[in-house]
Symmetry: C2
Subunit: 354 residues, 2 copies
């Protein structure tokens, strides 16, 4: 079975600054192994991607190592709006972390939010990390300043209610859901189950939330799947302060396709292709039609043995997947086959570069 190459607008490739977790080579190898040929990398590195210089440095590093296409999302701070005009052509989107959980580029002031929404004068989306009432705040700001927003890793039924209402009103709002919020529950984060490997932001939710997310995948309220691939080392995860995040690139498609095969929530294969390939490319202006993947339409057991991500673990260990990626072609080249990356480092393209 052949499908278009998948695209993921929300990954953390960890370079520069956290190469013990992942780097541009291992992360893009994991992408190919998972059927993804285009990624958008997030800005919350130790030196955050909130300046033109940090963005240029990331692109330089990526160009030498990536084996699939990678674009970058720029990081908002309460005060860096003056640099937006220079970086808008160089990035896919702006990322605003609104809340208290992610460190140096997180903020919650109305003043900062106004700076972001007034300053980002572009049809490219503002990607929103926010929960609860702050999601409503960003929808309000999108309405007031006529901006396109994209709600990242939406995890709760009430947030999806907002997105549905915003779409009915014709506002330019899209959203993504992460596989871990579809396949894992609050109970899975218990100490005797995943423990720190189930620690993520937003947190895992309840059955009602998960049911609503599945309904949204099927009926179009959810625009796309994004893995929020956020690898950490086992040592970090087993430390006294385990960081938020889990890897996801190599497990997303097999988990989702398993449910398509089983008929969950009326989700069809066409809809899954929309969610994982067509919509992210359309919304974020990524290449369309330049890649293809071949799927082995059988079940298998997900195992950390076979992963390309440097972190070497998955919260979905032991779960059943369906549709292992056998081959990936990018611009006519066979770049991945039966577990082996054939592309050479640097053969992927840095997107949104003049």
């Amino acid at each position: 079975m052949r499908l278009p190459g998948l695209a993921d607008p929300h990954v953390h490739l960890r370079e520069p600054g956290s190469e013990e977790k992942e780097d541009f080579y291992t992360g893009t190898c994991a992408a190919l192994a998972g059927g993804f040929t285009a990624l958008l990398d997030m800005p919350n590195n130790p030196t955050p991607t909130v300046s033109a210089e940090a963005l240029a440095e990331k692109k330089r590093l990526a160009a030498a190592k990536i084996v699939c296409d990678v674009g970058f999302n720029f990081g908002a701070t309460p005060t860096n709006a003056p640099v937006y005009p220079a970086v808008i052509p160089e990035v896919a989107a702006l990322k605003a972390y609104l809340g208290e959980t992610h460190g140096p580029i997180v903020f919650g002031s109305l003043e900062g939010m106004l700076s972001v929404f007034q300053g980002w004068n572009s049809p490219k989306p503002i990607m929103i990390h926010a929960e609860g009432p702050i999601v409503a705040a960003t929808i309000g700001l999108a309405a007031l300043y006529d901006r396109r927003i994209h709600i990242c890793h939406l995890s709760k039924a009430d947030e999806l209610t907002l997105v549905r209402a915003a779409k009915e009103r014709g506002l330019k709002v899209t959203c993504e859901v992460a596989p871990h919020h579809l396949f894992l529950t609050r109970e899975d984060a218990a100490p005797e189950r995943l423990g720190p490997y189930g620690r993520m932001s937003p947190a895992l939710q309840t059955g009602r939330d998960i049911d609503e997310l599945w309904q949204g995948l099927a009926d179009g309220a959810v625009d796309m799947i994004a893995t929020d691939h956020a690898p950490h080392t086992r040592a970090e995860k087993e430390s006294s302060k385990p960081p938020f995040g889990v890897p996801g690139l190599e497990t997303a498609f097999p988990l989702l396709y398993r449910e398509v095969y089983r008929g969950k929530a009326g989700l069809t294969l066409d809809r899954l292709v929309e969610l994982m390939a067509i919509a992210p490319r359309r919304v974020f202006g990524l290449p369309q039609g330049d890649s293809e993947i071949e799927i082995d339409d059988t079940e298998f057991i997900i195992s950390s043995e076979n992963l390309h991500t440097k972190c070497g673990w998955t919260p979905f260990e032991g779960q059943t997947g369906r549709g292992r990626v056998r081959r990936v072609w990018l611009r006519g080249q066979l770049v991945f086959e039966d577990g082996r990356v054939l592309a050479s480092p640097g053969s992927g393209r840095v997107l949104f570069s003049a």
Copy 2:
């Protein structure tokens, strides 16, 4: 000089439950002394006005004691939307306390906010107690659910920026500013100045915020003045945990009119009448044209000696006022003259009653 009777959509008359601070008689006497002939009372009593029964009891108590007209704002909780249809004809507006500062009827969950905005199916306003990003959230919800909202005691420049943008977009958003946010600054709340008598929510702000509020009064971004008359006893204010709030009914007009006389921010007398009489009556559906006040166009020193409010103090002690209220007529009757209330208890009308 004669003007229309003033109206205040935001007062705390404290009855039932806190009659040591104020009651329906003393609070409405203070109103007449300040030139107000119609008030809207807030629901945050010790037993909050969040049920039809509590509302009926308040009306019963008020009917026997008030000397000016009084309507009531119903209190929202995260779960009392089912009672809205029954109470909508009986109240001026819904009040939603969104935040962490006011006790039993304050909430901050998106679920609760959705319940309020989905449930309040009325052209009557939802009055919002909120600050910062939550103001943006309520504007978003107003846009999504086509509700009329009124931002209470707006105190910050950034919040006024939001209201301006919402009005430009044609959203049904109004706002009020309280005199203490216009005449007192953060510095006035210092221990050696007002100390606990300067403690309120929202807190006193900075010079830049105050300048923006004055600009908004003059140019129309601010719709009205509301005193947020919130009396507490001196003993409460001087306790180890002083409560939020200050009285305001008897000082609002003289302070504002002083500034009109001095030409501050281009504020005219016509505009002040709009802000303190016409707009609150129009927005909240209060009687128009049934009352009149006569003003003594001279300066005087504001003093707690002459107050009708039961609490007996004012944070504006010693400030210069202009335009003491000499006479008040309501429906043709002289109800106040030279410091004396002539109306008998119960002669005021309970508004929004079948």
